[in-house]
């Protein structure tokens, strides 16, 4: 039996993988709820604006990948920041990763529970979804990265379903998109912008994948393509939901995208939403699995066990710890729903926005300072 090595590096991953990972990390569960946060038609411009800002941020991020430090992998971080600092940041990083895992899983489980198995106990669903993610993560980093292709192929076609009937009359009426300029601006609008920024977050986790990625000058190009794909998907979904619900009703509905899919009909299946939600499992499993590996890796770094061999015991104890945390959270502290009452979604939103804003900028500054010192 070969040694149990999760983080072995046999090959590097290039263009397609970067594009898909960026795209999939950005499009997490936000796809389900984005429209209900944006509501007003003029937020179409906000999506475009935030997409451009996100692009600028990716330019900063790409500076890291083209620097000499990135080529050295983990040692690059140590050279740049010093080992103690790296361990400190790895420890800090555990929290946003944990929150992202938990919120993503619970949110997806909530969707299943509401639309597919309303009578089933939620703890069972958590067990299954999380179990599958753990199974994927156990195959190691390289296989999980490869899994993104499966996840993408399973999910990307869903966006095509939105063109018909949502973009054709009688559902599509131009007056549903009015007013196109902001007629009022409140605290909620700022909140929507923050939410959007958080919706574009995710690519900052690519730095954890530094050793596996093919670091070359074209990195920025791949990041850009991924970001543009995300931008287009958000635009299509948001405009379609405006056509379908109108902005008045959009503010009142939970899970707008799923409700839109429920309106589709096929001669064979009655409930298309069930199929789509189930297939989306691939997407979520990829995200949760890769975040689990990040979590495990970060724990090892902060505990100074990087040189030692990875063990099944270590991985499983991480799984169990997260599962228990999630279970307790769901049992006592989680309120179903996505609006203001669910504090965990809010926390995830802020933490996503912060990590996306700070990580590339911080690395950029560190590289600059190091360059000046040398």
């Amino acid at each position: 039996m070969s040694a149990f090595s999760l983080f072995e590096k046999k090959s590097t991953f290039g263009s397609v993988y970067v594009i898909l990972i960026v795209n999939r990390l950005q499009l997490l569960y936000f796809l389900f709820i984005t429209p209900m946060f944006l509501v007003q038609p003029y937020m179409i411009w906000a999506i475009i604006a935030v997409g451009i800002l996100s692009q600028l941020n990716l330019v900063l991020l790409s500076k890291w990948f083209t620097s000499n430090f990135a080529a050295m992998g983990y040692q690059g971080f140590v050279k740049l920041l010093g080992e103690r600092t790296v361990r400190f940041f790895a420890f800090i990083g555990l929290f946003p990763i944990l929150i992202k895992i938990v919120v993503t899983t619970l949110h997806y489980v909530g969707t299943i529970s509401q639309f597919i198995f309303p009578s089933m106990k939620i703890s069972w669903l958590i067990f299954f979804v999380f179990g599958i993610s753990c199974f994927v993560a156990s195959h190691g980093m390289e296989n999980t990265i490869r899994f993104v292709v499966i996840a993408y192929l399973c999910v990307f076609w869903m966006i095509l379903l939105f063109f018909y009937p949502f973009f054709t009359p009688p559902i599509a009426a131009l007056h549903d998109l009015y007013p196109l300029i902001p007629t009022e601006w409140s605290l909620h609008s700022w909140y929507a912008l923050l939410f959007l920024w958080s919706a574009f977050s995710g690519p900052e986790y690519l730095i954890c994948l530094t050793p596996w990625l093919d670091n070359n000058q074209k990195m920025l190009k791949y990041l850009t393509i991924g970001n543009i794909l995300t931008l287009l998907e958000y635009l299509i979904v948001f405009i379609a939901s405006l056509f379908f619900f109108g902005s008045n009703y959009l503010s009142k509905t939970n899970y707008p995208v799923v409700n839109m899919v429920r309106f589709l009909q096929s001669p064979i299946f009655e409930r298309i939403d069930i199929i789509l939600i189930s297939v989306d499992l691939f997407h979520f499993v990829f995200n949760i699995a890769i975040l689990l590996l990040f979590f495990y890796g970060a724990t090892r770094i902060s505990l100074k066990r990087l040189e030692k061999q990875t063990t099944p015991i270590g991985l499983i104890s991480i799984y169990v710890a997260i599962f228990v945390f999630m279970f307790i959270l769901q049992k006592w502290f989680w309120r179903p729903g996505t609006s203001d009452i669910n504090i965990w979604v809010t926390i995830e939103m802020w933490s996503g926005a912060f990590t996306y804003l700070l990580v590339p900028a911080f690395l950029m500054i560190a590289i600059r300072r190091k360059g000046r010192v040398q």
Partner: protein, 362 residues
Amino acid sequence: MWLFFKRLSLLGMLCNMFLMTGCDPFVENNTIEEISPVIFWSINTGEEGKLKISTLVPPVIKETKRLLSLQVDLFKQGGEKFNLIYYRELKRGQTRMVLINEELARKGVISIINTLLVDPEISQRLYLVIVRGNFDDYMQNQIKTQPDLDYFFYRMLKHYEKYNQGEMSIMNLHQFKSTLYSPFPYPILPVFKVNSDNFSYLGTAMFDQDKLIGTIKQMDDQIFQLLNNDHYLKFLPIPKLATTLGYIHSDVHKKLDRTYSTLSIQIDITGIVEEYRGDKNIIEQEQFYQLRDDIEHYLEQQTTDLLKKMQQYKVDPLQFGNLTLSPFARPMSKGKWMDYWQNMEINVDYNVRLAPLSNVQK
């Protein structure tokens, strides 16, 4: 390999243990012999503010049908109580129609609509229908002669919905809801008239938010279909002019002036004369044009009257309010639009283009 099998069998045993000890994740039982899907709910006003809901069971299996009805305080209570009086469990995932009594609709249907919207099992394509008269009596009478009546009724609604054939205003839950929650909430629903022997389409019900305000019938309803809903009519009989027009397509141009005081509607109509029983010799060009002018005049008069009626009722089911929306301004409030709408001057102009009778002799 051996290790793999060992693990697999261990996993299998674990699963069996869970399933056999009753620690089963699934709670609902959907064995087909033991359930009865519901195709429709008919909702009526009951005694003392209660709702009276009924349905026909079983919907498709070859078994004697019967009408179940109950007085309940809450719509969903029906789902629970029916199970107690019937040996199959009712399942609501196949609900296709909800028939609401006119009296109930006058009091407001928002609670029923919201209940339907909340339920993930109920399709957004569910048909909503207003019934004038007692639908239960009709069902009770017809069970013997037409056991599959509920299914036929559903097929009928589906038939007329599919290609907008212009006979009826068919609305589904999504369409009703979208209008109900739009800036100008004046939805419509079809009205069917029923007594113990007959069942017929009556017209279109106009709503102010969730309350039924009035019904437009016959000629008015046909014009309504031309103006908004379908833009097509297969037949338009005009008894007053002894003419039947056929295959009528309409093209509606609406224009609202800047001060919101005048609404001009120009309606271009193309069609053919299918039947004529009047005194004119319409084979001749001149007399034919005269008939056309008469039709134009008649339709203009009727349409103006219809719109006046809507103004009186204070409803806007044709959604003229949408004309005030613009990319650069906040939408007007409902009340403000109503103030404008009530006092609006309306100019209706028809342009009728007809193909003459052919293959005939006077």
